[in-house]
Amino acid sequence: MNKKGAIELLIWITRIIMTTVVIFTIVFLLQGYIRYDIDVFETETSIFANRVLFVKALNYVDGQGRLHSGVVDVAKYKGADISKELEKEIFYGGDNRYIAAKISLENLDDVEKKYNEVYYNQRLYNRDVEIYKAGLASGAGGVRGIVKSFYVLIKDGEKTQKGAMRIEILFPNS
């Protein structure tokens, strides 16, 4: 190969490399405008919180079997199996790696009265709470969370008092 041929070859190699770069640039630019990810975080967590307000495991059911949404039955809330009962009514499979929550209750009429926190899927909550608190919300290992608060009624025997329910929901990205 003479000198001119070598130069020609070099030019063509450069052209092919440039073409490849152009192809990848086009694909890359197009990909920037395409999103396959559909974020349902807000919707799902809102629905989850509303579901908690409607579960029989937590809310008062009268003698006729009617559920009183947003009326927390203290006897149920303090029950030893409350977490298991909650998970039966919102069942994401035996190994739920999808959603977890911590529910806390505050008595607004009697602030001295304290209630324990109730966990939904405590195993996942304990695993992911530190990631959430650290603010690592993006990426595959990230955890997003949201706190939803509701005014509720607390039914303790025959007595009904005003209260507030706080639901901290954790939603791992993967």
Partner: protein, 140 residues
């Protein structure tokens, strides 16, 4: 032949070859672009992600409502008949209707163990009917 090609002719042939090569390279860029855009226009992957999530969220919303619920799920903008919808053990699976081995996209929803959902596959529907009463739920 070689002998008959004088210097000017050889340069001309070379120029033609160069133009052909440039056209081939340009064609490659165009073809790649078209193929990629075509794949996007097909959009079945996006549709499957969309449907699996949307139906799972809808089932969750229906479960969160007390009493009997009967909901017609229909998306006039998207041809639902191209897909099949599988409901199984807390998962919505969506794949192309009648395409064996098509990648199925799943999304979970929370079942109420006291109101179990019927495991069922709906093939190429025009719409879905999501029903729930005190005893069970179903997607038809």
């Amino acid at each position: 032949m070689k002998k008959r090609l004088h210097k000017k002719g050889a340069v001309g042939v070379q120029m033609v070859l160069e133009v052909i090569m440039e056209l081939v390279l340009g064609g490659m860029v165009l073809l790649t672009g078209f193929a990629y855009v075509n794949a996007i226009i097909d959009s079945s992957f996006y549709d499957k992600i969309y449907f699996s999530r949307d139906i799972a969220v809808t089932i969750n919303a229906i479960y969160s409502a007390p009493g009997m619920v009967d909901y017609i799920y229909h998306k006039p903008d998207v041809d639902m008949s191209k897909y099949q919808f599988e409901i199984k053990s807390g998962l919505v699976g969506v794949s192309k209707n009648g395409v064996a081995g098509d990648l199925q996209i799943f999304y979970p929803f929370g079942v109420n163990a006291f109101i179990p959902i019927e495991e069922h596959t709906v093939y190429g529907p025009y719409k879905l009917e999501i029903k729930k009463d005190g005893k069970g739920a179903a997607v038809e």
